[in-house]
Amino acid sequence: MATIVLEKIARDFYDGRQMRRVLYPTDLDLKPGELTIVSGPSGSGKTTLISIMGLVLKPSEGRLFLEGKEVTRLSDEKAARIRLEKYGFVFQQAMLIEGLTVMQNVLLSYAIQGGRVSAEQRRKAMEILRALGLEEAAGMQPQLLSGGMKQRASIARALVKDPAILLCDEPTSSLDAENGQVVMNILKRIAVEEKRIVVVVSHDARVFPFADRLIKMENGKISSDTREFYSETSETRESRT
């Protein structure tokens, strides 16, 4: 069962003149079966936090564990392999690749490292599209879809490889209230019924009622968390092993 543990994770950026700390040492753990929402004003460090969790950004300090294994300083290739196998991403914009059909976009993660897409994988992709109400749109170009449909297609792309972890960056920000509710219901179901780690970064208060756990950030620090840091730390892990 996938878990993510952050120990004293911090991140600095060089802003052209000086190093600036955008994320202060942060302890956090995430477990499957709950929808975690990370909220906070712009510049509070929530996107940096999710980027580090998603192995797309390396922390300046601290340690990151995935399923008990340290993944803090992986090579680009290894990080890409883990992202491919264990992560699904939903971005602020749907970021579907134009020129590819919705189905081809969904199948992208199967083909991304030169793999051949099997009939079984196509069938599974179609099942997911059907579950998200996009069966009719499978052969359509992304530019022909509405904002809500695009975002659902990007969720389908994220889910097609059964990722243990789903990271979503402002998935409802470009949607109207109704489509936002639809997307959040889908994410909630994925977290609770399919027992996955689902983290949603959002500053939209309308999505808070969907949260099993709500983390608020300010000035690069966690200012409130509806659940305390409960997981094993490296010390306890070492003492156990």
Partner: protein, 247 residues
């Protein structure tokens, strides 16, 4: 060929090529004309037997010497054709030994020397070389701009690909594939134009000749130009960070 090839044996007859007829004043077959004060008759009109430079008129050796007023026993060049069973290298060596003051060349040597002469001693080489260099340069620049613009417009897509598990090598495959597709289209369009040009000029006053190895070199050159042109774009694409998707 119009006329009778046996007319070449006729002392009075000369052979001209149809591509040179305009320059020669449109002489008709069997028409009697004058060259260098000598009476000649157009015995045959050939097709596509044109000299690289100037206008060639073929006649018997005696008639040519008569027209050019060459003293007896003097020749500018003699074409020797060996029988099949003759060892050509040995025969050439013997000729060199017999005629130490003459230059003796095999067909291949003469061909190479002629090409070298025109390329290095006349304006053709520099003109042709400069044109080719400019074409290559323009090709590289155009492909660089095309690829660079394309990659810039796709940076977000590359970031998505990287974020969902694509490696740098996967991005490189996409960019290089695009360059090869451009090269493929270029080769197809180029060969289409080239074949059209060859077909149109085959019966014109610009006879053209394309050795079979040239298309292969052209295709390889086009692919290399496309790959060179995609280097900057490839560098930009490979620098795309997956974290860009969250910004």
């Amino acid at each position: 060929m119009a006329g009778d090839e046996r007319s070449l044996l006729d002392l009075e007859a000369v052979t001209v090529d149809q591509l040179d007829l305009k320059k020669l004043g449109h002489p008709a077959l069997d028409e009697v004309n004058e060259i260098g004060g000598q009476r000649v008759r157009v015995g045959a009109i050939t097709k596509k037997v044109r000299g690289f430079q100037g206008t060639l008129v073929f006649a018997s050796l005696d008639k040519v010497k008569e027209i050019s007023r060459t003293p007896p026993g003097r020749y500018s060049a003699i074409l020797v054709r060996f029988k099949d069973e003759v060892n050509k290298e040995a025969a050439l060596e013997k000729l060199r030994a017999i005629l130490p003051e003459c230059s003796v060349f095999s067909r291949a040597e003469l061909s190479r020397l002629t090409r070298n002469y025109y390329f290095s001693q006349t304006g053709i080489g520099s003109s042709f070389g400069f044109s080719t260099a400019m074409a290559v340069l323009i090709g590289v620049v155009i492909i660089t701009l095309t690829m660079y613009t394309s990659v810039l417009g796709r940076v977000r897509d590359f970031a998505v690909m990287r974020a969902i598990g694509g490696r740098r090598v996967d991005i490189a495959v996409v960019v290089i594939s695009q360059a090869l597709i451009i090269a493929g289209i270029g080769v197809f369009a180029g060969f289409l134009m080239l074949s059209t040009f060859l077909r149109v000029t085959s019966s014109s006053s610009i006879p053209s000749y394309l050795p079979v190895y040239v298309p292969v070199i052209l295709a390889a050159g086009t692919i290399i130009i496309s790959l060179l042109g995609s280097l900057i774009a490839l560098r930009v694409a490979l620098k795309t960070e997956p974290a860009a998707v969250f910004r």
